[in-house]
Amino acid sequence: MAFIVTPEPRRAVMLRRLRASIADGTVFLLLLGVSIVMMAPFIWMLSTSLRSPLQSFLLPPKWIPTDWQWDNYAAVFDQVPFFRFFLNSVLISGAVVIGQLVTSAMAAYAFARLRFPGKGMLFVVLMSSLMVPIQATVIPIFVLLGELRLADTLWAVILPGWSSAFGVFLLRQYFLTIPNDLEDAARLDGATHWRIFVDVVLPLARPALAVLAILTFNQYWNEFFRPFIFLTSYENFPLPVGLVTLQGYLGNGSVAVVLAGVALSLFPVLVLYIFTQRYLIEGITLTGLKG
């Protein structure tokens, strides 16, 4: 700003700087306050899960664990089939991720690279399913799963997850950004569509596949509504349904044990965040589809 005609008096400059740093400081304090509010429930969960069950509901709350009652974490496994819940969650999320990646990548390749009659219409029809909330289809799906003899099996939750309009959309967008050169070269070498898809396009699309895998895993790991409705036996419950059952079953007597279970269920998501946060945040921003 050296070219401003009349140089500002020194006091005015200092006053302006002071005002700017007060503004920055206020903003910082507000952000800090909100961050504390956002983190407090997690910290409370952790410290309470480490208190002795008898003291866990005593006030004042302890924010820093002092008793280190790891027994609560063992109790989760003793008092409910927690390992089973965990395994079910792993199986459901894992199977959905694998199936969805395969079907979405195949469809996305067709939409991005191949020419065929009805392409535009089929794409619009598929994308329109993004507007259909699960509640609008859950009742007939429940009836259908019963007819298919899949009710109360993990397949009831996995199978419908294998088709995802969002997955097709995400991967198609990415495939379109991959230059055609390599595929053309492969085609001239006589490679089939399938070879090109598997050996050329998929390896180049690794970042998009990773984003889809992470988002899908997170979504199905956390899902409550469908498993709660489709699964009725204890031994088929994934973590969210199992935890709610655990809470109802143990009641308020063992807050510490319930919270130990909750903490364990959050652990994989936390690990996922630490290692893949860039993908996770970018993916969620990009999509806006995280319910």
Binding site: F28, M38, T103, P160, L188, T192, N222
Partner: protein
Amino acid sequence: MALSDRPGSASLPGMTVPVSPRSGTGSLRGEQRREARAAYVYLLPVFVLFVVFVAGPLIASVVLSFTRYDVVSEPVGIGLDNYQRLAGDERVIISFRNTFVFVILSTLLEITIALLLAVGVQSRMPTFLRYVFRTAFFLPVITSSTAIAIIFSYMFSRDFGVINYYLVQLGFERVPWLNSTQWSLFTIVLASVWQRLGFTFILFVAGLQNIPRDIYEAASIDGVGPFTRLRTLTIPLLSPTILFATVIGVIASLQVFETPFIMTRGGPGDSSRTVVMMIQESAFQNLEFGYGSAIAVILFVVIMLFTLLQFWMSQRWVHYQ
């Protein structure tokens, strides 16, 4: 899976002779047919599942909504009876009212707070702080609503809850967060805003990064204050993102289920019962699948209308650059 051996290129052992794949109309048509056939094979899994688990069930929901059906015996067509019944069903009406109140409050709070946070994070600060804030705001987004609802149902407890403990310390009365018809829905709003805030925040941060710096520099030379700047520059320039966040927020909150189901079971009374809870209760507890379908169809129509309305509005007031 040799779906399509290319006839246009001849390859001999040890050498490849590139021949233009589009030479000759006969082979062109054959080639196109092969390519189309391959495409349909690639699309098959997604579309079979789409028909079986989305399109079919959606139509079936509409059909079921005109029947009485308890899974055990065959569905019986009863015309518009379910719709007439739900129009006079006070609990359904309350659940829609609760859901609308929830949608409006939570979306407003979420958008306002997230916008302020996103603008705040743009101010001068060390990079690692920005990273810490982002992580703090974002962690609840990737956490399951179930886990959060369980944690909050303890924290908001009237007699043993952490929140009331501090309110009493500060000289306030205990608030019956979950035990009062006046508070229960609002408590659900708070829990839900807390969880979704980081998502909207991230959207706004991304949106703000697309606003050219020089516009702000021009404004600061003109001596525009921070609040005027927010109102006259940031909000108009960010309006496409704000609209997007609103659409997504409204659609997601119309489907709210876990948080009230776990924290209040819809109570006390029906004070925090939502539409999806009514669908779940009618169909899967009372085994009235037809009636549940009718409520689900109404919810679906409302979600569609909201989507269309908001896109129509976007053409009127959103500022696209």
